[in-house]
Amino acid sequence: MIATYAPLFMLLFFAAFLASVFYVAATFLGGQKKPNPGKQAPFECGSESSGGRHLKLSVKFYLTAILFVVFDIEAVFVYPWAIHFRALGWLGLAEMLGFLAVLVVALVYVWRKGALEWET
């Protein structure tokens, strides 16, 4: 148990340490700060910014996020079956195909409803 997880946490710690070293070095070694109004403004291809991050977003992004949750959770259900697939045989395959059929019906529904259209 310890032999399995201790190296993992050592790696996690080392990764965080390495990234922090880069960040801290960038902060201390970086050149002199010379702020001016032009530099402080958000850079939006040189056109005048109408202020910060406040903008209305397309609802498509939220839809994509929800679809991701649905389909990724399905994937989690499929993994244990995939490991034991040979032992479960034809019956197991038929059951999984039933499960995937529900998934495909959901995908077709989403498709027909136009949630996957980005042209509009």
Partner: protein
Amino acid sequence: MTATLLLATIVKILIMVMFVLNLAAILTWADRRQSSMIQDRVGPNRAVIKIFGKELRLAGLLHPLADGLKFFTKEDFMPPNADRLLFTLAPIMAMGMVFTLVATIPFGDTICLHQFRLFPDFWHVHTGPHGELLDGVERWGTCAADSRNGYAPLELVVAPLGVGILYVFAMSGQGIIGAAIAGWSSDNKFSLMGALRAASQMVSYEVTLGMSLVGAMMIYGTVRLDDMVRWQQEHAWGIFVQPLAFFLFFAAAVAENKRIPFDLPEAESELVSGYFTEYAGMKFGMFYFAEYAEVVTGSMLLVTIFLGGWALPFFHRDGLLVQFGDTTLLRVAIPHVFVTLLGVLAFFGKVIVVCWIQVFVRWSLPRFRYDQLMKLGWRLLLPASLANILVTGVVWLAVDKAGSAASDGLRIAADVTQAVVAMAMTYLIGRGVVGMFGTVTHERNIIGTSAGIAARRGGTKTEPMQA
């Protein structure tokens, strides 16, 4: 946890992290050089060291060094309205996440070592009547921890977790957070749009990434990456048993790395530089670097699951054994430790080749439109990966139930694929060696209309290129 184990762990972590770090740095150079070759122009040639009046360019290899120095000495900039905590956290998350990915990726076969001997007897090979090693090293599988011969296994993977690939999925999911909070915190519309595109694209392709591997898991029967490699060593490489999944996974992995043709989140012509527009100096460098490190870790995963990991065709734990079905053509006993070291070299070599293919892809393809990107992910790759599960299941079960004739045929087919791989690798290595020492010729293939008109008017000026 003993001191030996601790030392071994530190060495393994350093090997993996240093490989990712250095290959990522070299890839920034390879990317530029490859692009200049593909676009028929002078590549990286500005970084020069003058020693005794002699100019050293080293084919542009000094550019990554110059980049690093420049990144560190640039002004450290933070937008006045930025969310200070998230703005700080984003590059650390983006970069730290990549290195945690390598934890469960095996870079070599398990080494069986004498527990209490400082200099084990590597050179001497004891073979039995069937050509197997008599030192407790089995041809398949690994040595047990409490082996009667006093061998201790040294697994060449940082953390031998039972969840294997699931850990990699969990960690690669964290990359989305880094991109999303970078874009949100920098108080810039373009950054926010880039972050949204990044998050949306990465979650879309993560579904395909997960689903395409189900077929591979069904065949290998495990989620442990080292067991997957052992299966491939024993039978055939994953690319032969799951060809469709290989391409799906490759496409999804490139999309996850946000590289051309999927680099919509940082599309220069639309969004300046996407979610890291407002970052300067090394903080920008960390995102830049994380992208290349992701290419390396993605290649590692691809190599492990589909290209045989550390496995070399016909090399087993106890030596070289060329076998087709039950016919043995050649058998050479090689000490187990040397085979393992050869495997480690093979793994890193394969990773470098796959990285190079990704660089090649990057400079060969144009960028998608965003709607095309989403269409490809949800309407083509996802249904294809679901179909792959269905076809794999039916075919595999049919073969399983068909009896010994089918399985014997499959065994010979598997050995043939190994032979194909062996020949392809020999050819590529030979070709590489010849190319290394051969003379460089500059060919000009005219494809476009304007180039054709220019050629008819007397051609464009061609001069030998520097660097």
